[in-house]
Symmetry: C2
Subunit: 366 residues, 2 copies
Amino acid sequence: MEYERPQFYHVMQYAADADGDVIDMVSGNPDWEPPAALRDGLREYADADPADFQYPPSEGLVDLRAEIADRRNVDPERVVVTNGTGEANYLAMAGALDRDAGDEVLLTDPVYPYYPGKASMLGAETTLVPTERDGSLDPERFREAASDDTALIVVNTPNNPTGTVYDRETMRALADLAEEVDATLLADEVYDHFDFTGGFESALTLDSDRTIVTTGYSKSMAITGFRVGYAVFPEDLVGSAKTRHMLVNVATSRPAQYAVLRALRGTDADYYAGARELLSQRVETFTDALDAAGAEYTSPDGAFYVLARFDGFPGTMANAERLVDEAGVAGMPGETFGTTRSEWLRFALVTPRVEEAAARLTDYFG
Amino acid sequence: MEYERPQFYHVMQYAADADGDVIDMVSGNPDWEPPAALRDGLREYADADPADFQYPPSEGLVDLRAEIADRRNVDPERVVVTNGTGEANYLAMAGALDRDAGDEVLLTDPVYPYYPGKASMLGAETTLVPTERDGSLDPERFREAASDDTALIVVNTPNNPTGTVYDRETMRALADLAEEVDATLLADEVYDHFDFTGGFESALTLDSDRTIVTTGYSKSMAITGFRVGYAVFPEDLVGSAKTRHMLVNVATSRPAQYAVLRALRGTDADYYAGARELLSQRVETFTDALDAAGAEYTSPDGAFYVLARFDGFPGTMANAERLVDEAGVAGMPGETFGTTRSEWLRFALVTPRVEEAAARLTDYFG
């Protein structure tokens, strides 16, 4: 086995095993309430007919796919409901590689570690393409890195870990590049509801037949444990994705699909705006403290992570463990996200204790 | 893509689109009530703390794995909770092939079509080994078929579609063969609760470090839509299986895991015995009618399928469609299960209308 487990669980376990009180800023678990309609959906489902407890259609509940297709303005046939965005990304990457268009996957650096993990599992080679210090992505760098062997370009926007929202021009250039080199562009948009700029546009609007868009409800509905996501495929890739989904998982868990559908229909914009506002405030609180601690940091345009660089304290696993032991704050070492952020640490702001964590970091580094 | 979608959905769709009333004997969906404790579990979970809606441990809820390990008398570390038995089989097959012990998978003939589908998806070659007309399996045939390239032997017991329960001696011989040729034995025991003989023994009791056992709750708790199953791996294969599970699915849906744990703890033996008794009666009703129709058939020792052969009416897709249109009964064509049962049709007894279906078949063929 040449592929590796992502290191998130290692740091979480280290923090859980620590003696003192540790604030978890590792996991990407929202800490707020799921939509009320989601809980209602579970209650309704608990009383459903036994027939409703049996296999849903493999590609997802008919009503859920229709609801998604309607909201995203796409043909329902292009939608596959998956076991979270994780499976959606797996299907997308496998589909792009199964085309026999090459064995190489271009990834951003820094990179969300599941992407290279999946690529290696699928037998692909990965090439990391550096993004800029401000988090932005220069499509020219991808053009230079691309070759005949390039089958797939993967980007995550809003981005984990940089918080950057790639603009439409950038995404258009990547989609064009994919078309030119006979590759596929995968846009993972799982943080699409956490755009602080108001300017985020989904890659679906590019209307490119070489672009796959994935997302899910884990973050937007605060239900990472439910495992409901989806992918929107170009027409010529959706058939093989449905087959792989069927052969790997048969279908996505039905109670979770039902509850998500109920929540989609019964949740208004205030719910999502409330979470965004909460996160905006946390970003401000946390980055103020980083200023006080003399750290360099990224100010996210979206998602819910902040990268911070403390002089003389590079983002190694050893330092992440030291921060747990000595400051009582658990963050992810930047070295686990590729090569360009090895001096940095990533902090997830999905804890009510952001202010206290910020104070601990200020004390420790200030 | 060289792998194909299993044909179940085609027949179900054909039956659903038919003009007249059609009795569905295609799908393997139990038609009885799930355990009451399962519904209670869903209700409890609907009121849970938001933290309980977040990622469970990737390999499964701690308490669920402990409960399974305790019941199966294995180390919890060997248990991976999966998105149904389907994912468990996928992980098991991928793990056996990732060992670089060969590219060939030995399957029984007749065969559950998902196995060759998964094998092809994973890049393996498949060899079908015929079982006997009475459903039994002669390990010598597998020994003759095995070669240096054999990486995996897959059997399903109680068997779909034959209903045969392989005895301990047979399974021992297959496990020994796997050890001799440096291969892995996968025993899919998803029908383990539907053993009419009382003699079924899990392959776990063989205590072979070359055997993987998979099963799930889809059939035993009448919840095919929940997607909760598990695999018990030998120690040296469990690590890579956990990694693949994480990279493909991250985790198994948590509300479903929670409800299954609650049902495991809160359901007594009468529930399972009741379903077995119901199925036994249906087998008798159905096979009596097949006698009246002059058909040859298998009398299942387990699972809930009957294979029937009608003279001059081979088990082709065209004939399965004809039976839908002309008799109002939907069954699976034997030709979709390999080569040895191409004269047969498979009928699933998980419908309250078994008696009426039997009468229709008697009328049509009698």
